[in-house]
């Protein structure tokens, strides 16, 4: 494979050209957990949908999922939107995205960093 030539399949082909996931936005550090061990065989299931369901049996962040499956973050989010609509995954958005950071949490971070 000639990696310099870029992907053989255009990256958004597997999302049917969609660049925005259905439903609400998905943060890069949101956590994904699949609701069942495999995605089953739906009419709109791509191999990548199956790969995501399999890889998110244990909670995994969106960005790590993208890196693990070697997909772009944008593509993963579109596919996650599909899986969320199908009820195959749960998404947990980081609370920090909507509220100020709790000082106790910040203290825990500093203590944790010092202990490294």
């Amino acid at each position: 494979m000639d990696h310099d030539a870029g992907p053989v399949v255009r990256p958004y082909a597997m999302t049917g050209g969609r660049v925005v996931p259905s439903g609400t936005g998905i943060d890069l550090v949101a956590f994904v957990v699949s609701t069942m061990p495999d995605a089953g065989s739906g009419p709109h299931m791509h191999p990548e949908h199956h790969a995501i369901v399999a890889a998110s049996w244990e909670p995994i962040s969106v960005v790590e999922l993208a890196a693990k499956l070697d997909l772009s973050a944008g593509v993963v989010r579109v596919l996650l939107g599909d899986l969320r609509s199908a009820g195959l995954i749960s998404l947990y958005e980081p609370p920090a995205a909507t509220q100020p950071h709790d000082v106790d949490v910040l203290k825990a971070v500093v203590d944790g960093l010092r202990a490294l």
Binding site: P11, Y12, V19, D27, L28, V29, A30, F31, V33, P37, W57, E58, P59, S61, V63, E64, A66, A67, S72, A73, G74, V75, Y92, P94, P95, A96, A97, T98, P100, H101, V103, V105, L106, K107, A108, V109, V110, G112, L113, R114, L116
Partner: protein, 192 residues
């Protein structure tokens, strides 16, 4: 086995590592991350390149690579470090990255101090707390933190630290400096 999986969802906090090209963003992410630094690509469409002045031709799609790393603080708390894509025209990607971010580290290279001006402007405008970390590649041309703060025209209180991005302990101390600064700001705001 299905019954054995962890049902704990950690809280993830984002810290951005910004600065000019070659300032040490990837190095810093790598030196503090507990996982091998990973990359993800973001495929951007509709980049018109209209504000480019360097002769780069227009593109319909562009792929940018983001470096990221992770530090587990506790079972329930994780820090994610994101190296911001370096070129100005990808800044709208930063908007998403900075949404809900704890804060940012702006890496400065004293040989090219002006390279970090855009990062500083960006975080000042967004109200994202940041510290300036001067990556000292060599010890010959040490600047004082005061001189750097003056040269960058920083608001009073914005921490400036000198460090070596290759040193895990030094890089970790920069993160501690940032989080303590965020906590101080939080307390000041809450006390108003």
């Amino acid at each position: 086995m299905a019954s054995e999986r962890s049902d704990r969802i950690p809280v993830a906090l984002k810290i951005l590592i910004a600065g000019g090209f070659g300032a040490g963003k990837t190095t810093m992410v790598g030196s503090v991350s507990e996982i091998r630094p990973l990359q993800t690509e973001e495929v951007l469409t509709g980049v018109d390149g209209a504000d480019d002045t360097d002769g780069v031709e227009e593109k319909r799609t562009t792929t940018v690579t983001m470096d990221f790393g992770r530090i587990t603080i506790t079972d329930d708390l994780q820090l994610y470090l994101f190296g911001t894509p370096g070129q100005d025209r990808f800044w709208y990607l930063w908007d998403e990255l900075s949404h809900g971010a704890l804060g940012a580290v702006v890496l400065a290279d004293t040989r090219r101090l002006a390279d970090c001006f855009p990062s500083i402007d960006y975080f000042e405008q967004r109200g994202t707390p940041f510290v300036v970390a001067v990556n000292c590649f060599d010890t010959d041309k040490r600047f004082t933190t005061d001189a750097v703060a003056r040269a960058l025209d920083l608001d009073p209180g914005v921490p400036v630290v000198l460090f070596d991005a290759r040193e895990p302990v030094a890089a970790r101390n920069v993160l501690i400096e940032l989080v303590e600064y965020v906590a101080r700001r939080q307390l000041t705001t809450a006390g108003r």
